[in-house]
C-alpha cells in the first residue's frame, strides 16, 4: 500500500509539473505533507533547504529522499521511477517519431519554428539568474563574477565545470570569519 501510494504520488507530480523540477516543488509538498502526511511542513522545508545546498536536479533529490524515508531503498527506487520514467518514455516516443520524418521540409520547419521560443525561455531564465545574483551578492560582486565567467568560459574556452568547481572550492576553503563579515 505504501509503495502504491509512493508511486501514485510521484507519478502525479511528474505528470502535472510543468516547468521542470523547481516548478514541481509545491506539488511534491502537497502530496507528501498534506495528502499522505509522510512529513511535517517543517521537515519538508528542512529537506528542501538541504536539497538546495547540493547541486543537480532538485525533483529527483526530493523524490529519492522521501521514498527512502517512507520505505527504504525500494521506496527510493519506486519514487524515482514514478517521477522520471513516464516523461522520459514520452520524450523518446515523440522525438523518435518526429525523427523518422526528418527528410520532410515541414519537419525541418518545425525545428526552425521552435528555436526562437527556446531562445525566449532561456533568455527569461538567464534574466532571473542575473536578478537573483544581484540581490544575493550585490552589483559589484555579481558583475565581477559575470565578467570573470565570460572571460574564462567564452574567451579562454575553459570547461564551465572547472570554473564552477573552483568557485565552490573558494567558498569552502575561505576562512569562515571572512564569510561571516560578508553576510
Amino acid at each position: 500500500m505504501k509503495q502504491a501510494n509512493l508511486f501514485m504520488a510521484f507519478l502525479r507530480v511528474g505528470l502535472l509539473g510543468y516547468g521542470g523540477g523547481p516548478a514541481s516543488i509545491p506539488l511534491i509538498q502537497k502530496e507528501v505533507v498534506d495528502k499522505y502526511e509522510w512529513m511535517t511542513d517543517e521537515e519538508f522545508s528542512d529537506m528542501l533547504a538541504i536539497g538546495n545546498t547540493l547541486p543537480g536536479p532538485i525533483a529527483t533529490k526530493l523524490a529519492g529522499y522521501i521514498g527512502y524515508r517512507v520505505s527504504g531503498i525500494s521506496g527510493m527506487l519506486n519514487a524515482l521511477l514514478a517521477s522520471v520514467i513516464p516523461t522520459v518514455i514520452l520524450m523518446i516516443i515523440l522525438l523518435t517519431s518526429l525523427a523518422s520524418f526528418r527528410e520532410y521540409d515541414w519537419v525541418q520547419g518545425m525545428t526552425r519554428g521552435v528555436l526562437p521560443v527556446v531562445a525566449v525561455m532561456l533568455g527569461v531564465l538567464t534574466w532571473n539568474f542575473f536578478k537573483k545574483s544581484h540581490t544575493d551578492l550585490g552589483w559589484l560582486k555579481a558583475s565581477l563574477l559575470v565578467i570573470a565567467s565570460v572571460l574564462l568560459i567564452q574567451l579562454v574556452g575553459m570547461h564551465p565545470a572547472i570554473v564552477i568547481a573552483a568557485l565552490i572550492l573558494f567558498v569552502l576553503l575561505k576562512p569562515a570569519r571572512k564569510a561571516g563579515e560578508e553576510e
Binding site: T111, R112, L125, S133, I164
Partner: protein, 176 residues
Amino acid sequence: MIYWEIFLAFFIPGIVGYGGGPATIPLIEYEVVHRYDWMTIEEFGEVLALGNALPGPIATKMAGFIAFEQAGILGAIVALFATIAPSLILMLILLSVLLKFKDSPKVKLLSSVVRPTIAVLLGAMTFRFMETSYLDSGWLQTGFMLVVSYVLLEKIKVHPAYVILSALIYGALFLH
C-alpha cells in the same frame, strides 16, 4: 567507450549545476553539442523545446532521450543514473551533517556564488539559439517570433506547451 562518455556527459552537469535542473541545461549543452558532437544546436533546441512542452523534471527528460539516441536503452539508463545518483547519494549520506549547516552563511553562499556563472552560460546559450534561428530563418521571422513568443509566455502567460505547439505548426507551415 560510449557508456563512459555518456556517464561523464551527464555526471558533470549534475555535480556542478547549482539551481536545480534548469541550471544544468547549459552544462548539458556544452557536453553534448560542443564536447561530444552528439547533436547540433538545432537538434538540442528541439529536444529542449519538447522537454519544456512535456511535464516532469527537465534534466532527466533530456538525459534519457539524448543517451537513448546515442546508445539505446542501456545508454538511457546510464545517463539517468549519472544525472540522479550522485546528488541523491550525497544528500542521503550527508543529511545529518547538512542539517546542521543548512543555515550556515558559507553553505548559503555556495549557490549564490555559482549563480552568476550559470547565468553567463544560459545567456551564451540564448545568444546561440537566436544566432542559429537568424541563420536558418532570417532576421524578420526570428524577430517576429521572438517578440510574439515573449508576449505570449511572459505577458499573457500562455502555457509553454501551447506556445511550443503553435511554434511547431507555424514552422511547419511557413519556415521551409
